[in-house]
Assembly symmetry: C2
């Protein structure tokens, strides 16, 4: 197999790229040898060498502990639990959270054979200090909610405030296009309108 | 900027990947350090070092001339002209053509400022031998057809048979869903039905 075929086969393993788009991507790379192909090869090699999980929170970074964990300006009173690094990135992009994170690396799933030992849970329990708030930012799926309940059970009796992010109508969402579950949850979680 | 951000920015430049899917791809790569990230870094470096355009036909390969040009079993009586390497690959996948190729690297386009000198045309004219067939497999676009006519003009008076691939209804295509231009071309190019 030629170098080009090997490259195409590896590119096709990326999420979002099939065999056809992998061929297009390989062609795009070869045509931009200096500006894209070589920098990308270098960036991958550097990332492979430098990026590792944070021993405290599970975030990926080039420093240990990670940039977020070592930032003295971040609030240590709240730890936000997310399933995946992509969720951490999504929350960081909002800039709305100034506490720290804990990346579970998945959710409990009997179907997929994922138990508590497969997730980054023990480290979370060891890390939590009395008086802290644990914000559950897990996906609004059956697995996400199962994991939320499991964590709440394990923390019963400890002086930890457990909260979860709100479920409801997304900003800009039109009621007519929303699923019934979301609408029902939004109705149930209604709040008093702030008067100005 | 961290190694991870650099990687994401470069991945986002690939066709078919936006900022969001580039983040997903980066995460996917980091999680599969041994099985995907390092092999891909290696494959890119090898491709950057080894893959180059064939001096004869413009195909990309690791040998000069390319595997197709040096294959003694391929018919030298026909040269198939394509715009882009992706078109060559598409034709090769069909296995229907056993001649050789010539990759133009684009089409003439007054709008985009692409003239004959920007394409791999002189080498084609120099390469053609009397008695050969030149098959134009250019896209059925205005630019593709302009390029086809330009090539035909340049070859006027030389002993070269010029053909072009057929236009018509795609296999499995439903007439009702086809554009008028294709239908009109298919009607005009009708052929006698072979009786069995």
């Amino acid at each position: 197999m030629s170098e080009l075929d090997t490259l195409i086969q590896l590119l096709a393993k990326l999420p979002g790229l099939g065999p056809r788009s992998a061929r297009r991507a390989a062609l795009h790379l070869i045509k931009r040898r200096e500006t894209l192909l070589q920098p990308l090869a270098g960036a991958l090699a550097k990332a492979a060498a430098a990026v590792r999980p944070c021993p405290s929170c599970g975030n990926l970074d080039t420093v240990e502990p990670c940039t977020i964990c070592r930032d003295p300006e971040r609030d240590i009173a709240a730890i936000c639990v997310v399933e995946d690094l992509a969720d951490l990135w999504a929350l960081e992009r909002t800039g709305a959270f100034r506490g720290r994170y804990h990346v579970l690396g998945g959710t409990l799933s009997a179907l997929d054979g994922v138990g508590p030992d497969d997730l980054n849970i023990e480290r979370l329990l060891a890390r939590l200090q009395p008086g802290q708030e644990l914000i559950l930012a897990l996906n609004a799926t059956v697995e996400g909610q199962t994991t939320a309940h499991y964590l709440a059970d394990r923390l019963a009796g400890r002086d930890i405030t457990i909260t979860r992010i709100a479920q409801g109508v997304p900003i800009g969402g039109e009621l007519d296009y929303l699923d019934d579950g979301t609408l029902a949850a939004a109705l149930k979680a209604r709040r008093a309108l702030a008067r100005t």
